[in-house]
């Protein structure tokens, strides 16, 4: 079956975050970490009290001088929302960035001063290269305008497995160490580690994977397993991810039915080592069939289809 399932699409989105994360690890060349670059936070909300604008980048990179606000996209489709997001990031000034780093306790945790000399918004598209950009620019003036507007606010970059993280269009505001590293390009691993398991969409499939990953793994440290309530799961993924309790209800129905955990009380579930076989199989399951279909079956839909066909 070559058709891309909903689960596969969500998995690919998650992978784009993990690929970007790998740029700081020693499997990248040069590894940003070795040049003093850290990731002090994922998915923060950074507000500028002077303008009232709040930016929500996916990643923050920081090296003691430059603060990079990075937004990661899994495709090559530039839309109006992207421009709005980068406009928000661009409106974060040095003071607002410093305040965000202070809130993230950078000085205590990272030992960097928390001083910012430049804020650089970047947006990374997974499936984009110079050739594509050139071609579509020539074909469509509207696209050309969109790119120009986007690069007014951010540097447009691309990344690829076993390929490079590198800029395609736009200019950095400043010329620090981090900017020159990004400008030169970073070679990325072919298959990065899974550190982040949620997309922005919070669909059932990716949520089931994330819940199984997080609590399935924690269960290993306890002989009797570990219990978690729906609200605890919601809080764990807050603030960036607004996980709805009704969404979680369906996801847990699926996980219980699939044998990845058991329900102990109304809204509480237990993961133990004995569930590990099923926990390990959750991803393969949700990549092949949606959580809804697993629980309620797809017969109804296909029955209607076949009637329509007649």
């Amino acid at each position: 079956m070559d058709e891309v399932t909903e689960g596969v699409r969500q998995r690919r989105e998650v992978n784009t975050y993990n690929l970007f994360y790998s740029a700081v690890t020693e499997r990248a060349t040069p590894a940003l970490y070795n040049h003093g670059v850290r990731i002090p936070m994922f998915f923060p909300e950074i507000s500028n009290p002077r303008t009232g604008v709040t930016a929500e980048p996916d990643f923050v990179l920081y090296d003691g001088e430059t603060c990079v606000l990075a937004e990661i996209k899994s495709g090559n489709n530039i839309d109006g929302r992207d421009i709005r997001q980068m406009r928000e990031c661009a409106s974060i000034d040095i003071e607002a960035a410093e305040e965000a780093l202070r809130a993230a306790q950078v000085r205590d945790r990272i030992g960097l001063s928390g001083t910012v000399t430049a804020v650089e918004p970047i947006i990374i598209y997974q499936d984009m290269d110079e050739e594509y950009l050139e071609e579509v620019r020539e074909e469509s003036t509207q696209f050309a305008d969109t790119v120009d507007e986007l690069t007014n606010h951010a540097v447009l970059m691309t990344q690829d497995y076993g390929g490079e993280l590198r800029p395609l269009a736009g200019e950095f505001n400043d010329s620090g160490n981090l900017q020159s590293l990004l400008r030169r390009g970073i070679e990325l691993p072919e298959n990065p580690p899974d550190q982040l398991m949620l997309t922005e969409g919070m669909e059932h499939e990716v949520l089931a994977m994330a819940v199984a990953d997080v609590w399935g793994e924690q269960a290993l440290d306890h002989d009797d397993g570990i219990e978690v309530s729906r609200t605890e799961v919601r809080d764990y993924f807050a603030p960036k991810h607004n996980v709805g309790l009704t969404e979680l209800e369906l996801v847990f129905d699926f996980l219980v039915e699939f044998g990845a955990c058991e329900q102990v009380e109304n809204h509480t579930y237990r993961f133990t080592r004995d569930h590990m076989d099923a926990v390990l199989a959750v991803e393969q399951q949700v990549l092949s069939e949606t959580v809804q279909d697993y629980l309620h079956g797809s017969e109804q839909a296909s029955l209607t289809d076949s009637f329509d066909g007649n």
């Binding site: 700081v24 002090p40 072919e190 793994e217 603030p239 390990l280 991803e283």
Partner: protein, 385 residues
């Protein structure tokens, strides 16, 4: 070995070694007349183990645990059923352990030394019996695991032995997926033979013998294996001090190289912040550049399933459209990820991963899948300094 507790009481590790070296001390003439290494004589062997949770004096508890824990395999249960164990505590980090085999009316003795997160087991018991007694015990104790060196590290370690020359070796070529589908074991006498074997056949050393001089004559004959065992075969009278130095140097070297290869200093740990969160830490063990043609992900997964993952130790799930395998090591209760970059295999540490599961998997790869991989580790913090 016939050791009285008083022989090793209140002694430093160095002094204990000195005591045990006496079992292999020979006169100069005997040394020179010894031209073959048949393995019949009494050797002093030291097993080096990563010690996660074994405290001196706890042997009884662990044996009971093996006997009663349902998760432990039948082999281990039979083993503890067929032997009896005694542990005489000498002081807080040294004990004298006896393993008897009633069916054969035999009792074998071992000195346990626990130090700095490592367990050393010293013995002069003959290899036939070591297999059946201590090697099995170390294999079944869940809290202890023998150190493991890649072939390159083993060579490096031997090169560092002062005044020594390679005088023999065993090397292995095992790569069933290479077109020539061969497993060969090489034994050689001289260092050049080892170089030839490596260059011609990609055979990797698993055991290296060395002769050490106290000029001009050979004074010490020893060997070491990639599975954390140092052997002193004979030591000429007068060279005991140097032999102890050699052992101390080798053990420190093993521990350091093993740590470099497998210790997870930076496991990914998630932390909540007021705004957002962090995941700090990254560790990958990379198995690269084997003597095989390019493989597809499917082929590599099939090879891993057939040779490694099929046993009792592992549960696993294939993820990310066959780009990764998440592996649960039931022996150690740890998860880790195997990322496929054919023909290379990358192990990514998860929060629960320690050296135990990484080392164990890598060892399986060398023994059962392909001995020609090179090993390296990359690791760094991500958020903190």
């Amino acid at each position: 070995m016939d050791i009285a507790p008083s022989d090793i009481e209140d002694k430093s590790t160095r002094e204990v070694l000195d005591e045990l070296i006496q079992y292999v001390v020979t006169s100069g003439e005997e040394m020179e007349s010894k031209t073959t290494r048949s393995g019949g004589q009494t050797d002093l062997n030291i097993y080096l183990c990563d010690n996660q949770d074994y405290d001196i004096g706890e042997l009884d508890q662990w044996v009971t645990y093996i006997a009663e824990n349902d998760g432990i395999t039948g082999h281990a249960e039979n083993y503890v059923g067929e032997h009896t164990f005694s542990e005489q505590v000498i002081d807080e980090d040294i004990s004298l352990v006896g393993i008897s085999t009633p069916a054969k009316n035999r009792e074998d003795e071992f000195v346990f030394v626990a130090k700095d997160g490592y367990l050393w087991v010293l013995t002069t018991v003959h290899s036939d019996w070591r297999d059946k007694t201590i090697e099995n015990l170390l294999n079944y104790l869940p809290c202890v695991e023998r150190l493991y060196l890649s072939a390159d590290d083993l060579r490096e370690l031997t090169d560092e032995v002062k005044d020594a020359r390679v005088s023999g070796f065993t090397a292995k070529y095992h790569a069933p997926n290479r077109e020539r589908d061969a497993t060969l074991i090489f034994s050689g006498a001289e260092e050049n033979d080892l170089e030839d074997a490596e260059e011609t056949f990609d055979a990797k050393p698993t055991r290296i013998e060395f002769d050490q001089t106290n000029s001009p004559a050979t004074a010490i004959q020893g060997s070491n294996t990639n599975e954390g065992r140092v052997t002193m075969r004979s030591v000429k009278r007068g060279s005991e001090g140097k032999a102890v130095d050699t052992i101390m140097g080798l053990t420190a070297g093993y521990q350091e190289l093993d740590r470099q290869s497998f210790e997870v200093e930076h496991a990914p740990v998630r932390q909540e912040l007021d705004s957002g969160f962090t995941v700090d830490g990254f560790t990958a063990v990379e198995l690269t550049d084997p003597d095989r043609e390019q493989a597809t992900n499917e082929e590599l997964i099939a090879d891993l399933e057939e040779n490694i993952l099929n046993g009792n130790q592992y549960r696993y799930g294939i993820r990310d459209e066959q780009r990764k395998i998440r592996v649960y090591d039931t022996d150690h209760d740890e998860l880790f990820d195997v990322a496929l970059e054919p023909p290379n295999i990358i192990l990514y540490a998860r929060e629960s991963t320690t050296a135990l599961s990484l080392r164990s998997f890598v060892r399986d790869v060398y023994d059962d899948l392909d001995s020609t991989y090179s090993l390296s580790k990359s690791h760094n913090p991500v958020a903190i300094q």
